[in-house]
């Protein structure tokens, strides 16, 4: 059984530090939901408030429609997977997995049976009597997940659980987590500072900065239609060009910039300071508004990144597909780039 | 305190707090306060307790100050305890350094086991061993005579015997803290100093000892306190001429029958030890948390 989670006007102040300010969002039951942001943005604080380890100084947390005020972590239908995993080092794997059942007074034979079932689910059959210290990083990871799933939580909270793994294993575990979530249908709330992780796994993503919620959207929406300059910069690579809006018509804003007049999607009133964001892959070499002195070309495999400097000295990055590499500008040369207005976004400056 | 309740819940937290309060109040604070009270009151027959003569004064402490023999014994105990601590330090430092930096794990294991063996039997038996060794007609005199180093037996019992017995009895309290402190010193630092051309004594003076100062201070504080508060070694290995302050205190309690004066003497001993602890910590710039490890 999975639950929805709703944060309504939630805020947290530690002493004089405001860690989280007036955050509102609702995670639907069965959703894979990520909270993305740089470290210190308040995402872990939010997760710990949902889990009940700390209590918000304002606002409410509702799980499955029920207000959680005054309920401790052991009285909520949530289970958490910690960054350090926090497996109990002195208990064999099966007791780790069955710990939550032990807390609920389930008999030993039943606990063992449940633990074995879950070990099968995470493909670690027969590992029940090992100690956590005898497992590899990926295996420990899976045990931590099984331990949390054993209590059949309505909501699973994951605090950057993959950050300790190496790249290859991390990518593998992403797929595994995603599959597990689909299979169990449990609501996942996943915390990460790694945008590719959030984009690849989630149904929806909430982006946070400095304790403030920036945007809640699907990964694609987030990438294509960032709601704030922070989101535009934080999610994916982008080029930012500052200017002033001179006209806005049919969802296209015309921006007056030191590099000339540029156009992109948006709704900014004329006369307002704004920034145009355009992704590297939206830049097409050969003819266009942006002329740059090329510094270097980094070959990345599937594509190459062209780094250059615009007329006003600001950096420009364009990506060129490997198959088009023959047309890519050479370092030291001058090159101009164009883009379609519908591939650029104009956002008002804060 | 809130953390304690949040972490363990009401029941357990209350149990913990109760245990700690019981310990601190009934076993640490109250006994010492009561001893202080005793030390300040005169020794009176039961009938006069609470009477007009039952008032607090410094008489008992002044008695110690004015009684020449006791005063001399007190100061002798102080400097002799300091001597015990210094001798123990000198004896222990090289071996602690060797164990911590140069010994192989195997040597270390054997050495620690051997060092701990004497400490499995109690202080009384350790002292008794020296009692037998140092006896007038005992083995030490026999060996020295045989080797031609002395012409006739030496009476070791007295200050020399007490010193030897105490150094022996408390050696581990000096050795372990210094060992622990030196052990945490990176070998690379010593190598670096040697590489830069420092002579061994300079390496010790400038690198090892500064690093080990908390351990050295701890060892000295403990050895001094144990020596000053020792009763067995002076009682067994001492002579009438080498009485120890603790023996005087004991006599007030169980022979002189004046607990108040005994309490005053004990109070002076306690004050001395606390003063030594504080001064040593200040001198070595070490704080208490580093000492009790």
């Amino acid at each position: 059984m999975s639950h929805s989670v709703e944060l309504s006007g939630i805020g947290m102040t530690f002493g004089t530090t405001r860690a989280v300010a007036d955050v509102n969002f609702k995670v639907e039951a069965g959703e894979f939901f990520s909270i993305l942001g740089p470290s210190g943005c308040g995402k872990t604080t939010i997760l710990r408030m949902i889990a009940g380890f700390i209590h918000p100084t304002e606002g409410r947390v509702l799980i499955g429609g029920e207000d959680m005020a005054g309920r401790g972590p052991n009285q909520r239908p949530t289970a958490m997977i910690f960054q350090s995993l926090a497996l109990f080092p002195l208990m064999p794997v099966w007791e780790n997995i069955a710990f939550g059942l032990e807390a609920r007074g389930v008999g030993k034979a039943e606990r063992r049976r449940k633990a074995d079932d879950l070990l099968r689910l995470i493909a670690l059959e027969g590992y029940g009597d090992r100690m956590p210290g005898e497992l590899s990083g990926g295996q420990r990871q899976r045990v931590a997940i099984a331990r949390a799933l054993a209590v059949e939580p309505g909501v699973l909270l994951l605090d950057e659980p993959l950050s300790a793994l190496d790249l290859k294993l991390r990518q593998h575990m992403r797929a595994e987590l995603r599959a597990l979530q689909k299979r169990t249908g449990v609501t996942f709330i996943y915390i990460t500072h790694d945008q590719s992780e959030a984009l690849a796994m989630s149904d929806r993503v909430a982006v946070m900065s400095a304790g403030v919620l920036q945007q809640v959207a699907t990964p694609r929406e987030l990438y294509e239609n960032p709601a704030t300059p922070f989101v535009a910069r934080f999610v994916g690579e982008t080029n930012a060009i500052k200017g002033r809006a001179v006209a806005s018509e049919g969802g296209i804003v015309t921006l007056d910039t030191p590099l000339g007049s540029l156009r992109g999607r948006g709704s900014v009133a004329a006369g307002q300071g704004a920034t145009l964001f355009v992704r590297p892959e939206a830049l097409i070499p050969g003819g266009g508004a942006l002329t740059a002195q090329i510094d270097r070309v980094d070959f990345e495999g599937a594509f190459a990144l062209v780094h250059g400097r615009l007329g006003d000295g600001s950096a420009l990055t364009a990506s060129v597909g490997s198959t088009d590499l023959a047309h890519a500008p050479e370092p030291g040369a001058q090159a101009s780039f164009g883009f379609a207005p519908e591939h650029a976004v104009v956002l008002a400056d804060a | 305190m809130r953390d304690l309740y949040a972490r363990f819940g009401g029941g357990l937290a209350t149990v913990f707090l109760t245990l700690v309060l019981l310990w601190v109040a009934a076993m640490i604070v109250a006994p010492n306060l009561m001893m202080l009270d005793y030390a300040l009151r005169p020794n009176l027959p039961p009938a006069e307790l609470g009477g007009p003569r039952d008032v607090r004064s410094l008489d008992n402490i002044m008695y110690l100050a004015n009684e020449a023999t006791h005063r001399a014994i007190f100061f002798k105990t102080v400097w002799a305890s300091a001597l015990v601590a210094s001798v123990t330090l000198v004896v222990c430092y090289p071996i602690a350094y060797w164990l911590a930096q140069n010994a192989t794990p195997r040597q270390l294991g054997i050495a620690l086991l051997l060092l701990i063996i004497p400490f499995f039997i109690n202080e009384v038996l350790r002292t008794l061993a020296w009692f037998i060794l140092l006896a007038f007609r005992g083995p030490l005199n026999a060996v020295l005579q045989w080797a031609g180093m002395i012409d006739r037996p030496v009476r070791w019992q007295g200050d020399g015997g007490v010193l030897a017995g105490m150094v022996y009895a408390y050696i581990l309290f000096m050795l372990l803290p210094i060992y622990n402190a030196i052990e945490s010193l990176e070998k690379a630092q010593i190598d670096a100093a040697r590489d830069l051309g420092a002579k061994p004594w300079r390496i010790h003076w400038r690198v090892v000892i500064p690093h080990a100062k908390a351990g050295i201070a701890t060892g000295c504080v403990f050895t001094f306190m144990l020596a000053a508060g020792s009763y067995v070694a002076p009682a067994l290995l001492g002579s009438p001429g080498s009485r120890w302050f603790t023996e005087v205190i004991y006599n007030w309690f169980f022979e002189g029958g004046d607990w108040n004066r005994g309490a005053a003497y004990a109070l002076v001993l306690l004050a001395l030890c606390l003063a030594v602890v504080l001064v040593t910590l200040r001198l070595f710039r070490v704080n208490l948390a580093d000492v009790a490890k």
């Binding site: 401790g72 002195l90 | 144990l226 009763y231 603790t246």
Partner: protein
């Protein structure tokens, strides 16, 4: 080279200093001489072991020490553990003050602890005896327990407690199933140390013993009233027991 020779000479002297007394004491247990010595050697005998074995007073003293040690462990372990947990949950200021108070018994001479305990409890009509010996010993042995538990706690990952709570455990269960098992090695070591400290203690016990005669007091009295090599035999047995115990411990540790 000279340095090395000097150091080996020092090591040899150190070894002689540490073990000559023990060897002499042990050897004297086999000498027929009525007074424990090795000079002159009057003949080899095991009589003193027999005498020790038959000494009812010695057995009684040993029994007394065992009871005291058991009681001290039972009281000091919970107190020391509680103190460690309370200390670690205090804030910095309060903590350093409480810490100073709680380690102060370690820096107090043993005789003073005995005297202060004796004086306090006389006020409420309790004289020297078993109970008072236990109280006096617990007052400082708890410090050792506390320090050992604190040392272990510093390596404890508190998120384990949160993980357990998050899985629905009660605070009591978290303590019993997570924290206590983690502290177990420290508690076992502290218990062992407490037993050794209790049996070894003389200075404190002397003042609060009343009419009880634990082992240390028994031996010290023997020295004055008539020392025989039976005491040496006892010492030898204790050393042997300790060494065997240590070896077994080491073997089991390596086996793991």
């Amino acid at each position: 080279m000279i340095q090395r020779a000097l150091f080996i000479f020092y090591l040899a002297c150190f070894a002689v200093f540490m073990f000559a007394p023990l060897l002499v004491m042990g050897a004297a247990a086999f000498n027929t001489s009525r007074f424990p010595t090795v000079i002159p050697w009057q003949g080899t005998t095991l009589d003193w072991f027999r005498a020790m074995w038959a000494d009812a007073a010695m057995w009684h003293a040993l029994w007394t020490s065992a009871i005291i040690a058991a009681a001290v462990v039972v009281v000091a372990l919970p107190i020391g553990t509680a103190a460690a947990l309370v200390l670690t949950s205090l804030h910095a200021r309060a903590r350093s003050f409480a810490y100073a108070v709680m380690v102060s018994p370690l820096l107090t001479p043993g005789v003073v602890i005995g005297i202060a305990t004796l004086i306090l409890w006389r006020q409420v009509g309790v004289g020297g005896g078993l109970a008072l010996i236990v109280v006096a010993q617990v007052s400082f042995i708890s410090c050792y327990v506390m320090l050992m538990v604190i040392a272990r706690l510093q390596r404890f990952d508190r998120t384990q407690e949160e993980a357990a709570l998050g899985l629905g455990a009660s605070r009591g269960m978290v303590f019993r199933r997570v924290l206590l098992p983690f502290l177990r090695p420290a508690l076992i070591a502290a218990g062992g140390l407490a037993v050794l400290q209790s049996i070894e203690n003389y200075n404190t016990t002397l003042f609060v013993r009343g009419f009880e005669t634990p082992l240390t007091v028994f031996i010290a009295t023997k020295v004055r009233t008539g020392l025989t090599p039976a005491v040496n035999a006892l010492a030898l047995v204790m050393i042997a027991a300790a060494v065997i115990g240590a070896i077994i411990w080491e073997i089991r540790r390596r086996a793991r």
